[in-house]
Amino acid sequence: MTKFTFPESIKSRPIYGTLEAREGSAHLLVADAHGAEALLEVATPEMMAKAHIMYIPKGEDFEAKLRALKPASFYSGPSYAAAEPRLLKTLEDARMGLQVYLAGTEGLMGQAMNAAMAAGIPYTAIQTEHRGSVARRMQCVHCKGITEDVETDPFVCSHCGLNLFVRDHYSRRLAAYQGVCIDAEDPGNVPEPKGIYE
C-alpha cells in the first residue's frame, strides 16, 4: 500500500495530486523510496529524452526500473541533503519551460518544492504526488530543530528532548510541520505514542 488518502484537514496542510506529463523544454523529476512508482507511471519516451531524474532510494529497490526509462540523466543518492547541491545547481542552470515533478514522502517533496520555488517556479506549477511512508518532517517550535521522518504522535524532539504533539500546521518556508510541547503544563503526562493517522 503505497498510496494513502490523507484525512481532510486545516487549510495550511499541503494537498498532493497525481503527476501528469506536461509540455516542457526539460523535465526534472525528484523522488524518494516509493515515489519511484509515480515516476514510472508518468514517464513517456518524449519526456525521458529531456529528463533528469534524481532518486533517493531509502532502501527501496526501484533504481534499475528508473534507469530503464532511459532518462537523459540519472542520479541516485543517499539522502535529500546529499542530493541538494546537485538539485540547486540544476535549477540554477535551468531555463523557462522546465517542468518539475516531485514524488514520494512529504519531507522530500516539501524540501524540493522549496528549492524550486526559490529558483522562481510558482508553487502552483510544481507537480507533486505522495507515495509511500506518511512520516513527516517536523520542526520543534521551541528549539527550532528539525526531526525527519516522524511516524508517531507524540514524539520526542531529536534536538531538545521535549515531547511534541504533531500538528497539521505546515510551513512551506521550512517544508515542515509544527511540533508543540504536549506536556508543558503537566510535565510527564504524555499520551502513549501512536501512528499519526491512527
Partner: protein, 320 residues
Amino acid sequence: MSGAEKIAVTVTDIVPLNDLVTRFEFKRTDGGPLPTFSGGAHTVVEMRDGDTTRLNPYSLMSDPMDQSAYTISVRRDDQGRGGSLYMHTKVAVGDEMVISYPVNLFSLDLRAKKHLFLAGGIGITPFLAQIKQLERFNGHWELHYASRTESLGSYVDELTSHHPNETHIYYDDQKQTIDLVNLLEGQPLGTHVYVCGPKGMIDWVRQTAAAEGWPREAIHYEEFLAPQPGKPFEVKLAVSNKVISVGENESLLEAMERAGVDAPYLCRGGACGQCETNVIDYSGNFIHRDHWLDDEEHAGGQKIMPCVSRFEGKTLVLDR
C-alpha cells in the same frame, strides 16, 4: 459614485509624438502631490464632450514615484467611438479634467528573477512606467518592442538611448519580427513574461508561452478593449426600475450611467470584473466581448459585463 476615487487635474503639456500618438501631462489643479502608483497602472480619464461623457482608461507612463505630474500617451483611433479623437482635437493646455486614482491590473510580479516585456505599438506605455520602477532597484528586465514603422515607434529613441542593452526594436514594414519561440526558450528560470499590444499579439504570446511549458502565473497580459459600437437595444434595469435604450455608439455601462444608475466599474475595458452584472431574463443573443467571464459563463446567459458587451434581441432584464 462607482469607480476609483477622482482627482481634479489640469492639462499642463501636450506633445504630439508622431502621426498617431500624442502625450498629455496632468497636474493636480489644487497644486498638491498626486498619489504614487505601481508600474502598469492606468487612470480613467473623464471626457465631457457636449452631452456625451466618455470614461477611457489609459496606462500611466510617467515615473511611478513622481508625484508632480502624470503622463499618458493616446493613440488616435479614427474608427473608434471618439474618445481618442476628443483627446487629440478638443483638449488644450490649461483645460481642467477629471481622472481617477491609479488602478493596476497589470502589475509586476516582484518575485520574478527577470521581467521580459513584449510590446506592440501603443502597448509600450505601461512598460515605460514599469521600466522606471525596476530601474530604481536595479531590476533585471529586457524589452522587445514591435512597431509598424520607424516613424510610428513612440519612445523608441528614448528607450534605445537610455537602455541600449535591454531594448530590442522590431519594425513590421522592415519585416522584422520577434523570434518568440527562441526568445522564450532562452529565458532563465524565474522569468515572467508581460505582453501588451494588439489582441493577436497577446494571443500569440500567451499560446506560445503555454506551449513552451511556461507556468500560467508567469504570463501576464493587458488588453484594454474599447467598447465597440453596435445596434441599439433596450434593457430593463430591475433594481432601479428603469427601461433604458443603449445607443449605437455607447456602451451598456455608459447608457446606465446616463440614466443616473450608479453601476460599479473599474477598468471599463472588460478586464477587471468589477462591473459583472446578473441577468434576470433575456430573449435574444449576447455579444460578449470581455475577457473576464469564461466560455461557460458566456454561453450560460446568467452574466454580462456591461462595459464592453452588448445584446441583440427582444428583452434583456438586468439585476441592477
